[in-house]
């Protein structure tokens, strides 16, 4: 595969590429993580002025919002956008495109073999400055940095699946792989030696080993959270904020059923429930809400971990979705975000399948 050798570190090289795309008018805007050098505060930014590129930190190991979700509506504006996405953000975006909530038409996607991100609490506590240098060091050696999001530690989909450009950082240096005609076209004239190369497979294999082990542990830790009693224990502290669905790249419904009149309980409902049960949890339906979401979209879950990260009472929502999602997607050999042409499982069927049902 045609690849560009990056002389500087990957962040600098991609920042230069993004600035080149903007100044040569190949794209109208760039979507990337940014960081204010003086204060260290970071966010996801859409930049149109090349001078704004100084703040771009394309590979900052933080996810303040799933960029795939953020990209959803702006990708349909008709503007040409270069977006730096983590693999799960790209997969989340792909899932949205399948739901007609985004478009690849005017998009150049840049992704990288991902070492994972830190939970937002590390940003808030100001620990990020200390953590990032060590993160870069460890990731380059295919080791797992400490303190990552639980789902990142257990993520086996850290190689981008359908990016135009992917970046791989190994101990042998950094490479920019061009996967599509669009990537070739957009990078034309951009300085850098072109070589024929692929991402270092042994590096990927080493990463996979620790990820798979962590996934096993994560799933095992969730064993006790099953059965009605287990779920009641787990969701007992849920405040019912629905934040997990707000930040979810897959949950796109403008008007969630759970926020509709269908679940807007009134006096007769409470009375009826109390008569039947003798007691009721308030707010009601926190488990029903998650069960509904699990059935509606877990097969598309990309395991980005946003839901767990924003949960004010630290419920491991992402782990439950990742575990259940693997099983529901597995029913139809579906891999969320693998291919934008692959329809979501509930929109299609095969006549000869699921023969044991009915």
């Amino acid at each position: 595969m045609n690849s560009i050798v990056m002389k500087q570190d990957a962040s600098t090289a991609i920042r230069e590429l993004l600035a080149y795309l903007l100044s040569s008018s190949r794209v109208d805007a760039v979507l990337t993580m940014r960081q204010v050098p003086e204060t260290g505060s970071c966010d996801l930014g859409l930049i149109t002025d090349p001078s704004g590129m100084v703040e771009a930190e394309p590979f900052l190991p933080v996810m303040t919002a799933n960029a795939g979700q953020a990209l959803s509506s702006i990708s349909m504006s008709g503007k040409r956008i270069a977006a730096v996405l983590k693999p799960c953000e790209l997969r989340g975006f792909t899932e949205r495109v399948k739901r007609e909530q985004g478009s690849f038409d005017n998009l150049l996607t840049i992704s990288s073999i991902c070492g994972g991100v830190f939970p937002l609490e590390k940003v808030i506590s100001g620990d990020l400055e200390k953590l990032v240098p060590r993160y870069i060091e460890k990731t380059a050696r295919a080791e797992a940095p400490r303190g990552l999001r639980e789902t990142c530690k257990a993520c086996e989909e850290f190689v981008p699946m359908n990016a135009d450009i992917s970046v791989s950082v190994t101990e042998h240096g950094s490479l920019m792989h061009l996967h599509s005609d669009r990537a070739e076209e957009y990078t034309e004239g951009f300085e850098g030696e072109r070589i024929e190369a692929r991402a270092d497979q042994s590096h990927i294999d080493r990463m996979m080993k620790s990820r798979s082990a962590a996934k096993g542990k994560l799933f095992q830790s969730l064993e006790k959270s099953s059965g009605l009693d287990g779920l009641v224990d787990l969701f007992g502290k849920c405040v019912g904020c629905h934040g997990c669905s707000r930040v979810c790249p897959i949950c796109y419904c403008q008007h969630c059923d759970f926020e509709s009149i269908n679940f807007d309980y009134n006096q007769p409902y409470f009375q009826e429930s109390l008569e039947a049960r003798g007691a009721l949890r308030l707010p009601p339906d926190t488990i029903l809400f998650q069960l509904g979401r699990l059935t509606h979209m877990s097969f598309s879950c990309v395991g980005c971990g946003m839901c767990s990260d924003v949960c004010p009472v630290s419920i491991p929502v992402a782990g439950i979705f990742k575990k259940t999602g693997e099983r529901t997607a597995g029913l139809f050999d579906y891999v969320p975000g693998r291919d934008s042409e692959e329809p979501i499982p509930v929109m299609v069927f095969k006549e000869e399948e699921l023969g044991d049902i009915g």
Binding site: S226, R277, G278, P345
Partner: protein
């Protein structure tokens, strides 16, 4: 639990299984009184939330039934229903939420006998399982 009378909801497709229920009734086949029928236009009309809410509101068992694959009045509704059912069942299995309280069966309009068999068999199963913890929990 000899005097346990479960509450079972059957979501039946208008074109096949509901007609089969009619046939079973007019053929004077014995049907359990615990089984409450809700007629829907197609088995694919049953959204997951409808089933989950029904469990929450006091069902001990839920049966969804419609036309055999290939015989859907609308062409392919039951194929979609089958996929959705598989998904919900998988979620219930994964979280250990008594998936056996939910069932999907194909019963055509001509199968009055099969209807009676399916309904009696399912009702027996739920009687043996006892009351659904979702119905009785005070923490939901």
């Amino acid at each position: 639990m000899p005097d346990f009378h479960p509450r079972i909801i059957g979501f039946l497709c208008n074109w096949c299984t509901y007609a089969a229920a009619d046939l079973a009734g007019s053929s004077k086949l014995e049907l359990p009184p615990e089984f409450t029928v809700i007629r829907v236009m197609c088995s694919s009309r049953i959204d997951h939330n409808l089933i989950l809410s029904t469990f929450y509101r006091g069902a001990d068992g839920i049966l969804v039934a419609g036309c055999h694959p290939g015989d859907c009045h609308y062409g392919e509704g039951n194929y979609y229903a089958r996929r959705r059912f598989a998904l919900l069942k998988k979620v219930m299995e994964t979280l250990d939420l008594e998936p056996e309280r939910l069932e999907l069966r194909w019963v055509s309009a001509a199968e009055g006998n099969r209807y009676a068999e399916v309904v009696n068999e399912f009702t027996d199963r739920i009687r043996k399982l006892g009351p659904s913890p979702i119905r009785t929990s005070t923490r939901l």
